[in-house]
């Protein structure tokens, strides 16, 4: 028999990026909010202090900040004919755990998705005709426009203090910024970070080829900044320990640095850590959530009644929570019917490398998680796909996050895997190699999806999520095209040797690619093809809002975090201004 806690106005499942933003907006609106975080409580002081936080083995290799696979993981297979097996240790992507969530260990690469992402299906049909979209590709419009999200992007970036240079201010194109971007209402809150050597070489080469270079927008800050919540960030020191690490310098924007210190002082907010939500409880008609049941720190079941439930976890976990709770019809790939778990997508990456002469000291260890120089000439629909026969694209940039040598010791093809020749090649190339990042989009297809695993369970006895995924043919063609463009730039960077292979099938769960998983609880305008409406409200249970990269109907060319933050503010705005005044569906079914 579960213990029952007094009812609150809202309960947050997960206190990461989404939970923190929603917690702040809802307490500010006067609601009593309980935040349930399965992981540990933690903060910059004393948990991320130097020099101990600069430990590649503990954080990057053994993945100290990631969720514990022993307690919860997912299973994986390439097609629905195969047998899914558990991911026994994270390699390909890295879901976090603990207060502040996955964004505590992010790199800080901060991009807005664009109008051609939000209206991808419509825009492609307008430009190329409906036959251009492959039959098995299930991309959709999001039900929200870039113009509607702009104020929320703006607000989120000013919360974070993002460093960058605008390329389109209120419709005026600005060389040196990303001229392909949609209009932004004002300049970034802080200027771009300093440009490292490899990026400067890339800039020159890409400019000479006629592309439009710009500094990567970064949440590793270029200068001190005080955000609208009264919290201050400091200047990034380029220590090279960003992705997979906490930042001891207060230079990386995360919930721990930009908002949680304020939220945690709010008397309307109560944080409970070590609390793993097992399910969302529904009333008899299954139309209204009555709250959640969670396993507390020592395993005891607790019922937390609430009038409003915010599902704000890592993408796959959002989908799993709805499946475990029986909210929304599960997707069936055989019929194409059902919605929860539909349109899972990933990101299609490749990493060309430029090997320089020994006179060129790249100093790969002098980097932040997000400082590079890049182009968007091949991102989204910024180029003519008509003759190319694929949809989507990639940004291309000299973006190196670190020189930590367990993970980074590039050698040219043909180098033995061990022995004296390997060792000498590592010594020869370590400080003289640049990596180019080809960060590609991922279409949704009928065959890639999430559901519950029939066999494997988590530490609480609940089914693991099962992921069925392989790279779509469309995305392999995209990767081949964009990788070749990146290799051409690499050649004109003056390297002695440029290598670069496009992404190939089969998808490999054992190789780190990116943590940008999307889909499973996608947003849209049609309840037969989306889980939540344009305000991220469940079509089936109107007092449940599901927010995260799980809302993306497909993945774009850019990193997802900025768009997740904008969606969270967009949804919070709808809850506070519309839903609380008249609880019920914000969009008729």
């Amino acid at each position: 028999m579960a213990a029952r806690r007094p009812e609150v106005d809202a309960v947050l499942i997960g206190v990461g990026l989404v939970g923190t933003l929603l917690g702040r907006e809802l307490t500010r609106a006067g609601l009593k909010v309980v935040g349930l975080e399965r992981g540990e409580a933690r903060d910059t002081v004393p948990d991320f202090q130097g020099p101990q936080v600069h430990d590649e083995l503990r954080y990057a290799v053994r993945k100290a900040l990631m969720s514990d696979n022993a307690k919860e993981t997912l299973t994986f297979r390439h097609t629905s004919r195969g047998t899914a097996l558990p991911v026994r240790r994270w390699e390909s992507f890295l879901p976090g755990s603990g207060l502040g969530g996955s964004i505590v260990h992010w790199n800080g690469q901060t991009f807005r998705f664009q109008e051609d992402d939000f209206r991808q299906r419509s825009r492609l049909i307008e430009r190329y005709g409906s036959k251009f979209i492959p039959a098995d590709v299930t991309i959709q419009d999001w039900g929200v426009t870039a113009a509607e999200l702009e104020p929320h992007f703006d607000r989120f970036e000013y919360l974070l203090g993002t460093s960058g240079k605008a390329g389109n201010l209120q419709g005026k194109k600005i060389p040196g910024g990303n001229i392909f971007e949609d209009p932004r209402s004002r300049e970034y809150p802080t200027p771009p970070q300093k440009e490292p050597y490899g990026s400067a070489i890339f800039r020159k080469a890409a400019d000479n080829l006629g592309y439009h270079t710009y500094p990567q927008p970064s949440c590793n800050l270029s200068q001190p900044y005080t955000n609208p919540e009264g919290l201050s960030l400091k200047t990034c020191t380029f220590c090279g320990f960003c992705e997979r690490f906490g930042c001891e310098h207060f230079a990386k924007s995360t919930p721990l640095t930009v908002l949680l210190p304020v939220l945690l002082k709010d008397p309307n907010f109560e944080l409970r850590t070590g609390c793993n939500v097992l399910r969302i409880n529904l009333d008899g008609a299954r139309k209204t959530a009555t709250g959640v049941t969670y396993a507390g720190p020592n395993g005891e079941e607790v019922e937390q009644p609430a009038s409003l439930v915010i599902v704000g976890m890592y993408a796959q976990n959002n989908a799993r929570m709805l499946l475990l709770s029986g909210i929304g019809a599960p997707y069936d790939p055989a019929t194409g019917k059902g919605v929860v778990g539909r349109n899972y997508a990933y990101q299609t990456m490749s990493y060309p490398q430029v090997f320089f002469d020994e006179s060129i000291n790249i100093n790969p260890f002098m980097r932040s998680g997000a400082n590079g120089t890049m182009i968007s000439d091949f991102a989204g629909d910024n180029f003519d796909h008509g003759p190319l026969g694929f949809i989507g694209g990639a940004y291309i940039g000299e973006i190196m996050t670190n020189g930590r040598p367990i993970g980074f010791h590039p050698t040219p093809p043909g180098t033995p895997r061990w022995g004296s020749a390997w060792k000498k090649a590592v010594a020869r190339h370590y400080n003289h190699t640049s990596t180019i990042n080809v960060h590609g989009s991922s279409v949704a297809t009928r065959h890639n999806y999430l559901d519950l695993d029939p066999t494997y369970k988590d530490a609480w006895g609940l089914p693991l999520l099962r992921m069925t995924f392989d790279f779509p043919e469309n995305d392999l063609r995209m990767s081949a095209y964009c990788t070749e463009k990146a290799v051409e730039i690499g050649r004109s960077m003056g390297g002695r040797l440029v290598t670069g292979a496009p992404r190939k099938r089969p998808y490999d769960m054992t190789e780190y690619q990116t943590t940008h998983n999307t889909g499973g609880t996608i947003m849209g305008t049609d309840p037969s093809t989306s889980v939540v409406n344009r305000y991220l409200q469940s079509w089936d249970v109107s007092n449940v809002f599901v927010i995260g990269a799980s809302n993306f109907p497909q993945n774009g060319s850019y990193n997802p975090t900025d768009t997740v933050g904008a969606l969270a503010y967009w949804s919070a705005d709808a809850i506070v201004r519309k839903y609380l005044k008249s609880p019920g569906p914000l969009v008729p079914r």
Partner: protein, 230 residues
């Protein structure tokens, strides 16, 4: 009180640290250690580029990892059923890293004994390389462990121990970092990042060294007005 030295015949102990200055092993027995020492010395050999994995005390690193929580399968999903998957589905054997090493090392001891002169450490370097390559490229069963799986873990751990912070027992004197020019746990290159192409020549720094006692406080500049709720 004054001690009188009494020596019992047959119980003389060698003076500490005299014969072998390396730290004692926690996990490996003498035979395991002899194999691992010989193997890592071939995977990353000492040569004219500098010390190798043996000199970096990589065996001590591997030994401590296997003796600890990671070796016991910490933070690893360990529920069955155990099915062989595709390579892209990742590791699916029921062994913890410690079990995997023990099984493999026992099988290797028998294996080398059968076909060679007893021990890997007794072979010529070229024969050692050939034996390691056979584990890597001609997979055979090592007590339930495919030899290529064991070889890959041994190689991965050798690279880790060569490049991880010295506090973990390998990378002695930071020889791995000195080889490539990685400065270790330093925290600030703000003044250097836009001095393009400079050579960073300061010796590397370990987590075990004093960081200078830097203290950070949470920089709240003003009490947030809206924090009390409205």
């Amino acid at each position: 009180m004054a001690a009188t030295a009494v020596v019992v015949p047959g119980c003389e102990r060698p003076p500490p640290q005299a014969a072998n200055p390396r730290p004692p092993y926690l996990f490996f027995n003498a035979e395991d250690a002899a194999f691992v020492e010989a193997a890592v010395a071939r995977l990353i050999p000492a040569d004219d580029a500098g010390p190798g994995a043996l000199e970096a005390e990589v065996p001590a690193y591997i030994d401590r990892q296997l003796a600890g929580a990671w070796g016991a399968g910490g933070r690893m999903y360990r529920s069955g059923p155990w099915l062989a998957g595709t390579p892209e589905q990742g590791y699916q054997l029921p062994f913890t890293p410690a079990e995997l090493f023990k099984n493999s090392l026992r099988a290797i001891a028998a294996d080398v004994g059968k076909s060679n002169r007893g021990k890997l450490s007794k072979l010529e370097p070229q024969e050692q390389d050939a034996y390691l390559r056979s584990l890597e490229n001609e997979p055979r069963d090592l007590g339930g462990v495919p030899s290529d799986v064991f070889f890959q873990l041994l190689l991965d751990m050798t690279v880790e121990g060569f490049f991880a912070d010295p506090v973990y027992g390998g990378n002695k004197d930071m020889v791995g970092w000195k080889l490539v020019g990685f400065p270790g746990a330093y925290a600030n290159y703000y003044e250097f990042v836009d001095q393009h192409g400079i050579r960073f020549t300061r010796p590397p720094m370990s987590l075990g060294q004093d960081a200078g006692g830097t203290v950070h406080l949470h920089p709240v500049s003003s009490p947030p007005a809206a924090a009390k709720g409205r």
